[in-house]
């Protein structure tokens, strides 16, 4: 098959998966959570319905809002959509995978976090300010853990580009440093997705939605979708490094990828009802522990294990 056609198909497929899979997983997540709470719960498609409904609602803009408030969710969404083309999900020689590297992906992901926080800060609301402040404080440490684990992966595989990393990883697999590092990446994905012990930036009962308090309509949809996409991209990255064998299989690739991410989201969904929300100091301490684990993976990678 033509290389260019593959490139176009796989990038479209990547973008499509990144937009539609996470809301579906969120619906499953809500269902499982409700079952554990002994409720019936919303239908699985509920999150997609919510987003669709938000798209046709009116926008309400607060008086004190700056232009950052208006454009940040869209910008974050477009950054993440571009990142989704670069994260190889199914076919090895997919998309721009051969010219891009892990650092660029990390950069784009953290840029989108920063943009979302800027949007919250731009609303002028004190609750949003508090939420954005928590988000940024937690991001410092989450980024540190993600950076350490990505660097240990790059050092262990001796490569920078995505394709080389996957090729190398599927040969040398399984090694402890890469397993630990991708585990840390999964933990980072959990934290970045505003899930329960770390749900501090939104914290509905406490600061009434925090960072998203002033958002409504299409902007709220873009904001929520961006959070989902960010989490999904981190999960996709980690899961393919953890289990790289099936990635280059053209036929089995897609179902196995969906299965892998589904298992991860299943674990997330079972984890969430077990926790109550942390206070910010507790959250920071537990993220610091994760940073420590990522340093262990860095040391192991340096030793060549």
């Amino acid at each position: 098959m033509n290389q260019l056609a593959l490139l176009i198909i796989s990038s479209i497929l990547g973008g499509f998966l990144t937009i539609f899979l996470p809301p579906l997983y969120d619906g499953i997540h809500r269902k499982i959570k409700a079952r554990i709470h002994c409720r019936i719960g919303p239908p699985i498609m509920q999150t997609i319905y919510d987003l669709g409904k938000l798209m046709v609602k009116d926008d309400i803009v607060p008086e004190g809002a700056s232009s950052l408030f208006l454009y940040a969710p869209y910008l974050a969404f477009s950054y993440l959509l571009f990142t989704s083309i670069m994260v190889p999900m199914i076919y090895l020689r997919s998309a721009i995978g051969f010219t891009c590297d892990l650092i660029l992906i990390l950069y784009l992901l953290s840029s989108s976090t920063v943009l979302l926080a800027l949007g919250g800060l731009g609303s002028g609301n004190v609750f949003a300010y508090e939420g954005a402040r928590r988000e940024l404080t937690m991001t410092i440490l989450t980024e540190l853990a993600a950076i350490f684990s990505l660097i240990s992966i790059m050092i262990r595989c001796g490569a920078l580009r995505m394709t080389e990393i996957y090729e190398k990883a599927s040969i040398i697999h399984p090694v402890p440093s890469i397993i630990i590092a991708s585990g840390v990446l999964l933990a980072c994905a959990y934290i970045e997705g505003f899930r329960l012990p770390f749900e501090l930036p939104e914290a509905e009962p406490e600061i009434s939605g925090g960072i998203i308090i002033e958002y409504s309509g299409r902007r709220l949809a873009a904001f929520k979708l961006s959070v989902f996409m960010k989490q999904f991209l981190l999960v996709a990255l980690a899961v393919n490094i953890l289990e790289p064998w099936s990635i280059s299989n053209l036929i089995l690739g897609l179902p196995i990828f969906i299965l892998k991410t589904f298992i991860v989201y299943l674990v997330f969904a079972i984890l969430e009802p077990l926790f109550a929300r942390f206070r910010i100091q507790e959250a920071l301490k537990s993220i610091l522990t994760i940073c420590g684990i990522s340093i262990i993976s860095l040391i192991l990678a340096g030793l060549g294990v």
């Binding site: 926008d59 650092i103 953290s110 840029s111 609303s123 609750f127 940024l136 660097i151 002033e214």
Partner: protein
């Protein structure tokens, strides 16, 4: 051409001194400085394009040999951009901020052109004696520039600390140059004879002189164990002077370090480590300390320490790789060039941010971020410029900071597969990425506390005047241009760095960059470049969103901000800057408390009847005093380090 600019600077200073009207004196002084700087810009661009200038001013023993080629031309180009724009900015800024307030600015208009001239001199001279002269001139004039508001106590304090520290640096530099010159026959101070003298010198000097020289550069460059003058001096100085300090003066040590390491001393692994490891430390500590600052210029000062750390790290890593094996010359040259690219970018966005604090000072009369807020509505153009500056500082994709930081990361990680020698490099890259996140945090704080949200203080409507805005906007446009076309910068930097590392040819270098890292930022390869994709990715969705918004006009209603249903105003409820990262601060409390002095606990004297007990008490006290070296203020530690170094040198000279 160089002689003309030097004369222009001196004339500007004289006119500033002797014109009876102070206001016109300062104006003419700055206008002449900006003209001279523009000539420098032209000369350096011409020299970079291939016609180097070598000339000697005066003849006889006091002749000044000047050379403008390669590295000097690159640095002169980097210097002359902030020179020109800051001079233009100063015309109006000094008038608004000081002349109208009745402060005597004559010392400022005398020293400013001489300060500019001394820094140009320091990078162009090829004689140790004149290097010392220009260095001292730089220290003296900058001291007078800092202490313009000398009736305030904190300004006097800051000036004093700065004066002492810059003279310790000068003393160490003089020690290096004089002891090198003492081995020349006949006595000569030109760099080429100093180089021969160094290679003839005894073993202790071979080891000691590079160390002493590097320590001098640490002090002037604001590197962490000896950085404490910097966060005091920057807020005390007027904004245009802080802009020059951050944009230009911090780069003079980097030039001297690069030049001396490659042309006079030899690049060795220890000399690389002496540059690389302090660079890593200042990168992290500068960024961490920038976060809790309240004063906006102190925040930028710590940020300068952090960003200078990036440059030192890249430079040191390059030297380590090159001296480890000549086969790594390609990697080394790319690392050093990335560091110099970051230096170029830093001289664009940091002066811009300092000028913005100047604008805020003119308008709102405050530097305290707890007091400022919501100025984005009254100063829309300044706030746009500030956003561009902050995004470049963070290093988001379409801006220049991204290109340079990214090439530092990529080339650093590429070297991490070598072996043990690259451990400091990959640890450095990991910490550099961490510092990148910290940079994002404090830059966002800087922007949001000053410009976003609801106004907290009353200022008169309208932005500041155009002369105060044009320099920032020009720098902002340059930031974006270099971010989109980083190949332009690299094609200027590679020819400047390559003569120092002759193992790699220029053609091989340009090819190697594209092949090794797919940086592919050279203009001829642009269609395939990653940067091109980034550009596409950033612009295409924005266009899409805007088009979508235009095509489907939604009903958007403006409602008051929701404040929990209470009748507060936003001004009452807004959180202040001090609360921004309080949790983070309390978690890293032990780290931030380095500078807090704890009260001394007075233990009761033991009942010392016995003569035998007394000596033990004295010994205990002596040990207690010794402990202060380690646990006391950092300054004592540094002072002892310096005393040891100087006594070491004396031993060398006598023995």
């Amino acid at each position: 051409m160089l002689l003309i600019t030097f004369m222009l600077f001196i004339i500007a200073s004289l006119l500033g001194a002797f014109l009876p009207n102070v206001r016109w004196g300062s104006r003419i002084s700055y206008i002449l400085s900006s003209i001279a700087s523009t000539i420098l810009l032209y000369a350096s661009a011409k020299a970079l394009l291939g016609s180097p200038i070598r000339q000697t001013i005066f003849s006889g023993p006091a002749s000044i040999p000047l050379e403008l080629d390669g590295l000097s031309a690159l640095f002169l180009l980097i210097f002359s951009i902030p020179y020109t724009l800051t001079s233009i900015y100063s015309i109006k800024y000094i008038e608004d901020e000081y002349v109208n307030a009745g402060i005597d600015v004559r010392r400022h208009s005398i020293c400013f052109p001489i300060f500019l001239m001394s820094m140009v001199g320091a990078i162009l001279v090829r004689s140790g004696l004149w290097l010392i002269v220009f260095w001292e001139l730089m220290s003296f004039t900058s001291y007078f520039l800092i202490t313009i508001e000398h009736e305030k106590e904190e300004v006097r304090d800051a000036g004093f600390v700065y004066f002492i520290m810059s003279h310790i640096a000068a003393a160490l530099l003089i020690v290096t140059i004089i002891s090198l010159a003492s081995w020349t026959h006949p006595l000569s101070f030109t760099y080429s004879s100093l180089r021969d003298a160094y290679h003839r010198s005894p073993l202790p000097a071979l080891i000691g002189l590079p160390i002493i020289f590097t320590v001098a550069m640490w002090i002037k460059g604001g590197i962490v164990p000896v950085h404490f003058w910097l966060p005091r001096a920057y807020p005390a100085a007027p904004s245009n002077v802080s802009a020059l300090f951050a944009g230009v003066m911090e780069k003079v040590p980097i030039f001297l370090l690069t030049y001396f390491t490659f042309r006079i001393f030899d690049p060795t692994i220890p000399s690389g480590l002496l540059i690389c490891i302090p660079g890593i430390i200042s990168m992290v500590i500068g960024c961490l300390y920038a976060i809790p600052q309240r004063d906006d210029k102190a925040l930028l000062a710590y940020s300068t320490i952090g960003q200078i750390g990036y440059i030192w790290f890249a430079l040191g890593a390059g030297i380590i790789l090159y001296s480890y094996s000549k086969s790594l010359a390609l990697l080394a040259i790319i690392l050093i060039s990335s560091g110099l690219f970051h230096l170029l970018n830093h001289s664009l966005f940091k002066p811009m941010l300092f000028m913005i604090t100047g604008n805020v000072l003119v308008k709102a009369k405050s530097r305290d971020m707890d007091v400022l807020g919501g100025l984005g509505r009254t100063m829309p153009i300044t706030s746009i410029a500030c956003l561009i500056g902050c995004l470049s500082l963070i290093g988001l994709p379409p801006f220049n900071g991204f290109a340079s930081k990214w090439s530092i990361y990529v080339s650093g990680i590429a070297s991490s597969t070598v072996n043990m020698i690259s451990i400091p490099i990959y640890v450095g890259v990991a910490l550099a990425m961490f510092s990148g996140t910290l940079t994002a945090i404090y830059s966002l704080k800087f922007y949001s506390e000053i410009f976003s949200g609801e106004p907290r203080i009353d200022v008169e409507a309208g932005d500041v005047s155009a002369i105060l805005l044009i320099p920032e906007l020009t720098l902002g446009i340059l930031c974006i241009i270099l971010g989109v076309f980083p190949g332009v910068a690299f094609s200027a930097i590679f020819p400047a760095v390559q003569p120092m590392i002759p193992e790699v040819g220029l053609a091989q270098l340009f090819k190697g960059v594209g092949f090794l890292y797919s940086i592919l930022m050279i203009p001829t390869m642009l269609p395939l470049s990653t940067m091109y994709f980034i550009l596409l990715a950033t612009i295409a969705p924005i266009i899409f969103v805007i088009a979508y918004q235009l095509a489907h006009p939604k009903r958007t209603s403006v409602q008051p901000t929701w404040l929990g249903g209470f009748r507060h105003t936003l001004r009452d409820t807004k959180l202040v800057a001090a609360s921004f990262y309080s949790e983070f601060e309390s978690m890293l409390g032990s780290f931030y408390q380095i500078r807090i002095r704890r009260p001394r606990i007075a233990y009761p004297e033991p009942n010392a009847d016995l003569v035998l007990v007394k000596p033990w008490i004295w010994i205990g006290r002596a040990i207690g005093e010794l402990r202060r070296i380690q646990v006391g203020p950092v300054q004592i530690y540094v002072a002892i380090l310096l005393i040891l170094l100087i006594s070491f040198l004396l031993m060398v000279v006598i023995g």
